[in-house]
């Protein structure tokens, strides 16, 4: 995938193209006419008050909403020009678009098996190859040195911050193109949070990152683009610097200056 992007360097295409996306949970209209293009190798932050639909939008990018009963979607989501709600195999979609969740959710198995779960799912059984993937993924998630001596230990014994970096490593192990992060630091202490933020910035050279966050400083610190959501609508989308310095919409301004939310 990286190779393709390099040859495409001159005309860098949008990773995700979201067109007229509406989403309903039963009768509730959770997302209203979202239009959004997400560039590759950038961090895009989704901000907005609770219940504004930012997590819902994130989850519709790898079809995790399929698991929610009564969820209905109209409109289009294109990944590299392919309609993800069309013929695309949902398991392959989720291999290409990985996800890190709000609460660290390592499986109750060893650290090694956690990382190897994804590659094994996609058919890799060679031990040497798996060893290599585990090491590379943990290195990419900047946690190899901490964990290399305890790969056979249960992942549940790690601290919250370590668990979350393990989950990032686990997502990296299936070689995704995009990583969706749903408030990845909301359950973590400040030091772990800053490690995850540094990691996200490091990873954007190789991956496209979309991050939902409640923390506006976080969005301002690490994202390239920011989208502000309110009551299911996307109010404003633009360069993070511009959104946080000269927002075009008064609602954005009110939110980022802390007048509500």
């Amino acid at each position: 995938m990286e190779k393709i992007e390099k040859t495409d360097m001159i005309e860098k295409k949008d990773k995700f193209t979201i067109g007229n996306l509406d989403l309903y949970y039963g009768d509730f209209h959770a997302l209203k006419g979202i239009n959004l293009n997400i560039r590759p190798n950038e961090i895009t932050a989704f901000i907005g008050p609770s219940g504004c639909g930012k997590s819902t939008l994130l989850k519709s990018l790898n079809r995790m909403n399929d698991l929610v009963e009564g969820c209905r979607i109209t409109g289009q989501v294109l990944l590299d020009g392919e309609d993800i709600y069309g013929d695309m195999n949902v398991n392959l979609l989720r291999k290409r678009v990985g996800m890190v969740f709000q609460k660290p959710n390592p499986f109750p198995m060893s650290i090694y098996d956690n990382i190897a779960f994804g590659p094994r799912t996609h058919g890799i059984t060679n031990k040497a190859k798996l060893d290599e993937i585990v090491e590379n993924s943990l290195r990419s998630a900047a946690i190899w040195d901490e964990l290399k001596d305890r790969l056979k230990k249960s992942a549940l014994g790690l601290s919250g911050g370590q668990q979350q970096r393990l989950c990032i490593a686990r997502a990296l192990a299936v070689e995704p193109e995009v990583i969706l992060m749903d408030e990845p630091t909301s359950a973590l202490d400040p030091i772990s949070t800053s490690k995850i933020e540094d990691l996200a910035v490091e990873l954007k050279d190789r991956y496209t990152i979309i991050m939902v966050t409640h923390n506006m400083q976080q969005a301002a610190r690490i994202s390239d683009k920011t989208a502000f959501f309110l009551l299911g609508e996307m109010v404003e989308f633009g360069e993070t610097d511009q959104i946080f310095s000269v927002p075009k919409d008064t609602r954005t301004e009110n939110y980022i200056t802390g007048r509500f939310g």
């Binding site: 995790m64 698991l67 398991n91 979609l93 990985g98 959710n105 499986f107 198995m109 549940l156």
Partner: protein, 274 residues
């Protein structure tokens, strides 16, 4: 003053209730042990049962066989139906409600009813006669709802975040269930299975009508067999070997206590998440 008296009276009553419960248990166990232990003889563990030496070893072996066969039938069906209910069926699905109500009703039916059903269906209609097989199928039907319900609860208690994590990596439903959900649910499932074993070991009525009372090692799966509980019932009922019945009760008691202990040990050990 009155209030003080009332609260002291209440305290006495609850204390007395606790003492009564405990002493009943001690009395019962003590009575069986005192009457049974002196009659525990090596000859009671002979491989051959005769009307002179009412050995219980064949019955112990029969109990094990009965338990294994009925579990082999009931556990896969119970666990799979629980997987369907929790992992596949949509919420508010009519079938789920029906299955659940059926299971609950089944678990409330007295065992003698299972016995009569088994006697009519397996023994007579299918022509299996009084046999290990008829008994095992009857037991399987009896423990099926128990295994299904405990497995269902165990699966429900697996956090959804595990499922999300697995789906998020591109794993399908089958892989998610067998590699992530089921391993986490094993302690709960196991304690259900152990409870089911306890039911089979303790059953008499339903087995007398389906497996019969032949106290010998079965020649085949269609031989009539006598489990330990039935053995004890028969000895006590015939009135010729009451002492041996007490000795059998001791062995049965020990087995049941062991199973219960094992069950809570397994639940505790595995429930902590390794």
């Amino acid at each position: 003053m009155r209030k003080d008296f009332l609260s002291r009276l209440l305290r006495f009553l609850v204390w007395a209730a606790a003492i009564i419960t405990m002493s009943l248990l001690i009395l019962l166990v003590g009575y069986i042990l005192i009457n049974g232990i002196p009659h525990l003889k090596a000859s009671l563990f002979d491989l051959n049962y005769t009307s002179d030496n009412v050995s219980m070893l064949p019955s112990i072996i029969n109990t094990v066989l009965m338990t294994i066969i009925s579990l082999l039938i009931a556990a896969p069906i119970g666990i799979c139906s629980a997987i369907y209910l929790v992992e596949y069926a949509k919420r508010g699905n009519k079938l789920v409600e029906v299955v659940r109500i059926t299971a609950e009703t089944l678990s409330g039916i007295p065992s003698i009813v299972y016995g009569l059903f088994g006697a009519i269906f397996f023994v007579t209609v299918l022509g299996w006669g009084l046999s290990l097989l008829s008994g095992a199928f009857t037991m399987a039907i009896m423990i099926l709802p128990l295994i299904m319900r405990t497995t269902e609860e165990a699966l429900k208690s697996v956090p959804d975040s595990y499922r999300e994590g697995s789906f998020g990596l591109g794993a399908g439903r089958l892989r998610t269930i067998f590699r992530v959900v089921l391993p986490s649910a094993v302690p709960g499932i196991l304690s259900g299975v152990i409870l089911a074993i306890g039911r089979v070991v303790g059953e008499t009525a339903a087995l007398m009508f389906t497996a019969g009372t032949v106290a010998k090692l079965p020649k085949s799966i269609l031989s009539s067999t006598r489990t330990l509980s039935v053995h004890m019932y028969t000895l006590a009922n015939e009135g010729l070997h009451v002492d041996e019945a007490y000795a059998t009760a001791v062995v049965l008691l020990v087995i049941v206590i062991l199973i219960n202990g094992l069950s809570s040990l397994v639940a505790k050990r595995l429930g902590k998440g390794e």
